[in-house]
C-alpha cells in the first residue's frame, strides 16, 4: 500500500503543476489535423499528434501514451467517418475525460464538413474494410483541408474565447495563403488531368477527383484486403488492355504489391506522402501537396 500512496502523491503534485503552463491542449488523431491545428492555433495551442505518417491509420491500438494525452486534452481533432473507430472510443472512455466525448465542444470531426465520396451502397464486411460514412481519406484533397479550417477556427474560438481575435486572424491568413497555394497546385497539376493511374489502396479518391485523374484499378481486391498473386495477375491483364501511367501508394504501405505490378506493367511506382511527415519534403500542409504534385508529375513522365 505504501508505494501506491507515494505514487498518488507524486501524481497529485504533477496534476497541480502541469496544466497551468499550457494553453489549449489539442489531441489530433492524424498528422494532417495536427498540422492544421498548429497553423490555426499558433502558440496558443499545444498539439499532440496520436499517429505518424508511417502508421496505417486504420490499425492503431489504444496505447497508454494515447490515453494519457487524451486525459489532458481540451479538444480532439479527428477525421471521423469511422477512421478511428478501432481505438478512439476506447481511448476517450479510458481517459475519463468527458470534455472530449463525441457531441461535446471538445470533439471535432473533420469529415462532418466535407462532401464524402464512396459512401457504400451496402454495408457488408464481405466487401472489405468499408466505412459507412464514406472514404475517410479526405485530406488528399487540399480543398477539404480548407473546408475544415473554418469550422476548426470557430471551434478554437468557442473553446478559448479569450484568444478569439488571434484565432480568427490566423484562420483568415491561412485561408488566404492556402487558397493561393491550391490555385498554384492546380496549375502545376494540369498535365495530370485524365492521367490513368493505379492505386494500391483506395486512399486517394479525393486526390484523384481533385486533379481529374483516372483511377483504372486498385491493387487491393477490396479495401483493406491484401492482394493475392492471382488478383495481381488479373490486374496486370487489365493494365495490358488499359495502360496506366503509374501505381501510387501511401508512405505507410508496403511497396511489395506496387513493385510487383510496376515491374511487370512497366509503369512507375510512386510513394506519396499521404499526410504530413510521409516524406522528408512533406514537413507541413504546404509541403504535403507540393511534394504530392511533384511526385505525381515525376511519375507521369
Amino acid at each position: 500500500m505504501k508505494p501506491i500512496l507515494q505514487w498518488s502523491c507524486a501524481a497529485a503534485l504533477l496534476a497541480v503543476a502541469a496544466p497551468a503552463l499550457a494553453a489549449l491542449n489539442i489531441f489530433a488523431t492524424v498528422p494532417e489535423w495536427g498540422a492544421l491545428a498548429e497553423e490555426l492555433g499558433g502558440d496558443k495551442v499545444k498539439v499532440y499528434v496520436a499517429t505518424n505518417a508511417l502508421q496505417d491509420p486504420h490499425h492503431v491500438e489504444a496505447k497508454p501514451s494515447l490515453i494519457a494525452r487524451a486525459r489532458t486534452a481540451d479538444l480532439v481533432v479527428a477525421t471521423g467517418a469511422e477512421l478511428e473507430i478501432g481505438w478512439l472510443p476506447l481511448v476517450t472512455q479510458q481517459a475519463g475525460n468527458p470534455k472530449i466525448a463525441p457531441g461535446k465542444p471538445g470533439y471535432f470531426e473533420a469529415a462532418a464538413f466535407v462532401t464524402m465520396l464512396e459512401k457504400p451502397a451496402r454495408l457488408d464486411r464481405a466487401d472489405g474494410d468499408v466505412h459507412p460514412g464514406g472514404n475517410p481519406h479526405i485530406q488528399t484533397d487540399p480543398r477539404n483541408v480548407l473546408r475544415v479550417a473554418a469550422p476548426l477556427t470557430a471551434r478554437l474560438v468557442e473553446l478559448d474565447p479569450a484568444n478569439a481575435a488571434y484565432y480568427q486572424e490566423r484562420g483568415k491568413a491561412f485561408a488566404e495563403r492556402f487558397g493561393i497555394a491550391i490555385g498554384n497546385w492546380e496549375k502545376l497539376a494540369t498535365p495530370l488531368k485524365g492521367a490513368p493511374i493505379v492505386v494500391q489502396h483506395k486512399a486517394f479518391t479525393y486526390l484523384i477527383a481533385w486533379l481529374g485523374m483516372n483511377e483504372v484499378v486498385a491493387l487491393e481486391p477490396k479495401p483493406g484486403v491484401d492482394p493475392t498473386t492471382a488478383w495481381l495477375s488479373e490486374v496486370l491483364a487489365l493494365l495490358q488492355r488499359q495502360p496506366a501511367k503509374m501505381v501510387i501508394r501511401a508512405a505507410y504501405q508496403s511497396d511489395r504489391a506496387s513493385q510487383w505490378i510496376a515491374e511487370r506493367a512497366k509503369i512507375n511506382a510512386v510513394a506519396l506522402p499521404f499526410t504530413v511527415g510521409g516524406t522528408p519534403e512533406a514537413k507541413d500542409l504546404f509541403g504535403l501537396y507540393d511534394d504530392t504534385i511533384a511526385r505525381l508529375l515525376k511519375g507521369a513522365k
Partner: protein, 471 residues
C-alpha cells in the same frame, strides 16, 4: 461536485448489490431464452425493413446499384473505375423504432483439442483446484460464443452487456456493467459485473488472448479469470506519462474467494498501471495489483498421504499480488507488417485460515486445523508477427508450490517441491481484424510423472459492431 457523485456511486452500488444475477434458476434461464428469442425476432423484422429500403434506394440510383453489384462478386475481373463521383447513399440518421439500438457484436469460436492425458483428471500438483480450469474437451467442440450489446444509456451513463453461450447450452453473464461517463478529473467509475482490471490479461476477453488458454498462474491463483460484481473506480493522472490508479470492491464470489452469505463487501482490489512510448516504435505498460478476498468452506478434493481422495474445506483469507509487464515493438508504430509483443506476469498468493480435513465425513475423520500457504509463479510469452497476417508465439509457465503449512492436518499431507511447468508454441493466421485461426502445441508437466502433450486448433470469428484495439 463530489457529494452528488458519491451519492450516485452509492446508489449504483446499492442497485448492484440488490440485483444478484448469480443464482440463475431454470425459470430465469427460460426467461432469458424467451427474451433472446424476442430480440432476434424483432431484429429480423428490422433488418428486413432495411433491406427493402436499400432495394428501393438502389432502384432509384443506377450508379450505386452498379457499384453494389460489382462489390458482391469477389472474383470479378477488375473493371475500369470511372472518375465520376458515385452518387452517395443518403446518410441522414434513420429514425424509427430501431434508431437507438445498441451496438451488437458476436464472437464465434470452435476448437479441436487433443490431449495425451485424460483431461477429466486435470489438476495442478500442489495447488488447490478452483474447479473450472480444464482447457477443453477432447476432439471437436465449439467454444464459448459471446454476444455483446453496448450503447450510451443517457448523457451520463454507458452500458455494456456481454453474455456467453457455452457449448453445453448454458447462458452466463460475462460482463454487465454501467459506466459513469460524465465524471470529471480523469475518473471513470464502473459498476455491475465486469472483469477486474488486476494484472494485464485479466480484463481481456479470452478471444483476444494470444494463446488458446489462460496462463497457469491465472488458472492456479484466480481460477482462470477474476470476475467482480461491484464497483470499480479508475483515475488517470493528468501527466504525459500514462499513470492510472484503480480500486475495486465487490462481492468476492470469484475464486479464490467464494459466496459467503455476508453483508458488506467481499473483496478489495487496488492497482496501479503506468505506460508510455519509448520512441515511435516501442511502447510499454507495467502494473502492480493487489487483491484481498476470503473464502468460507471452499471445498475441493485432494489425495492424502494414505491415498484417500478426501474432501477438504478452506475458510480464511486469500491475498494475491500481481506484477505485470508488456512491451510492444512495431517499426515506426506500424504493426500491420511486422510487430513483436513481449509480456510477462508474476503472481504471488498467500492464504491463511482453517482447513477442515474430511469435510464431508466420508472417512469419519473430520477435523479442523490451521492452514497457511505462500505460493507464487509466473509466465512469460512473446508473439512475433513476421509477415502480414501471420504470427508465431511461445509461452513458458512456471509455478512454485512454495510453503504449505497444514497445521494439525500435517499428518495427512506431505509437502511438495515439484514445480508445475508448461511450454507452448502457437501459430496464427489473421486474414482480417475480424477472423483468426490458430494452432497451438504445448507440453504440460503439471504433476510429477505426468507429461501431457496438448494440441489445440481454434477459430475466432467476430461479427457486428467494430471492436476496440486494446493495448
Amino acid at each position: 461536485m463530489p457529494s452528488p457523485l458519491l451519492a450516485r456511486s452509492a446508489l449504483a452500488l446499492a442497485l448492484v448489490m440488490a440485483a444478484d444475477v448469480h443464482a440463475a434458476t431454470d425459470a430465469d434461464l427460460a426467461e432469458i431464452r424467451a427474451q433472446i428469442r424476442q430480440l432476434k425476432e424483432s431484429y429480423e423484422a428490422r433488418i428486413e425493413a432495411l433491406e427493402q429500403r436499400l432495394q428501393a434506394a438502389e432502384a432509384k440510383s443506377p450508379v450505386a446499384a452498379a457499384s453494389a453489384t460489382a462489390a458482391v462478386v469477389p472474383t470479378a475481373v477488375p473493371t475500369v473505375a470511372s472518375t465520376a463521383v458515385p452518387t452517395a447513399a443518403p446518410h441522414a440518421p434513420s429514425g424509427g423504432i430501431g434508431a437507438f439500438n445498441p451496438a451488437i457484436s458476436a464472437v464465434l469460436q470452435g476448437t479441436y483439442a487433443n490431449f495425451s492425458q485424460d483431461p477429466n483428471h486435470y489438476a495442478i500438483s500442489g495447488f488447490a483446484p478452483s474447479g473450472d480450469i480444464v482447457p477443453a474437451k477432447r476432439g471437436l467442440s465449439i467454444a464459448e460464443s459471446e454476444l455483446n450489446l453496448s450503447a450510451s444509456v443517457d448523457d451520463k451513463f454507458y452500458g455494456n452487456l456481454i453474455f456467453s453461450l457455452t457449448p453445453d447450452n448454458q447462458v452466463s453473464v460475462e460482463e454487465a456493467y454501467g459506466l459513469y461517463t460524465a465524471a470529471p478529473y480523469g475518473i471513470a467509475p464502473k459498476f455491475g459485473r465486469f472483469l477486474s482490471s488486476i494484472g494485464y490479461l485479466n480484463d481481456q476477453h479470452q478471444h483476444a488472448w494470444d494463446f488458446y488458454d489462460a496462463p497457469l498462474v491465472y488458472q492456479a491463483f484466480l481460477g482462470g479469470q477474476y470476475q467482480n460484481n461491484g464497483l470499480q473506480v479508475k483515475w488517470v493522472a493528468p501527466t504525459d506519462v500514462f499513470l492510472e490508479l484503480g480500486a475495486e470492491i465487490g462481492s468476492g464470489e470469484s475464486f479464490p474467494g467464494n459466496s459467503r452469505n455476508k453483508n458488506g463487501t467481499g473483496n478489495g482490489i487496488v492497482y496501479a498501471h503506468a505506460g508510455d512510448d519509448v520512441d515511435a516504435s516501442n511502447s510499454w505498460r507495467a502494473g502492480l495489483s493487489y487483491l484481498q478476498t476470503a473464502a468460507r468452506d471452499r471445498e475441493y478434493s485432494q489425495l492424502d498421504l494414505a491415498g484417500n481422495d478426501t474432501q477438504l474445506a478452506f475458510t480464511g483469507k486469500s491475498k494475491v499480488a500481481i506484477a505485470d509487464f508488456v512491451w510492444k515493438w512495431a517499426p515506426n508504430g506500424n504493426a500491420q507488417e511486422r510487430n513483436v509483443k513481449l509480456q510477462g506476469e508474476y503472481f504471488w498468493r498467500r492464504e491463511n485460515g482453517d482447513l477442515t480435513y474430511d469435510a464431508d465425513g466420508a472417512l469419519g475423520l473430520t477435523q479442523s486445523g490451521g492452514y497457511r500457504s505462500d505460493q507464487n509463479g509466473f509466465y512469460v510469452q512473446g508473439v512475433w508477427q513476421f509477415m502480414p497476417a501471420w504470427r508465431v508465439g511461445v509461452r513458458y509457465d512456471w509455478l512454485n508450490p512454495g510453503s504449505v503449512d497444514y497445521g494439525t492436518n500435517g499428518a495427512y499431507f506431505g509437502s511438495t517441491s515439484f514445480n508445475p511447468q508448461r511450454t507452448a508454441v502457437m501459430l496464427d493466421w489473421t486474414p482480417s481484424e475480424f477472423s483468426r485461426f490458430r494452432v497451438q502445441f504445448q507440453q504440460a508437466k503439471l504433476r510429477p510423472d505426468f507429461t501431457d502433450n496438448e494440441i489445440f486448433v481454434q477459430y475466432i470469428l467476430t461479427l457486428g459492431a467494430h471492436g476496440a484495439h486494446k493495448f
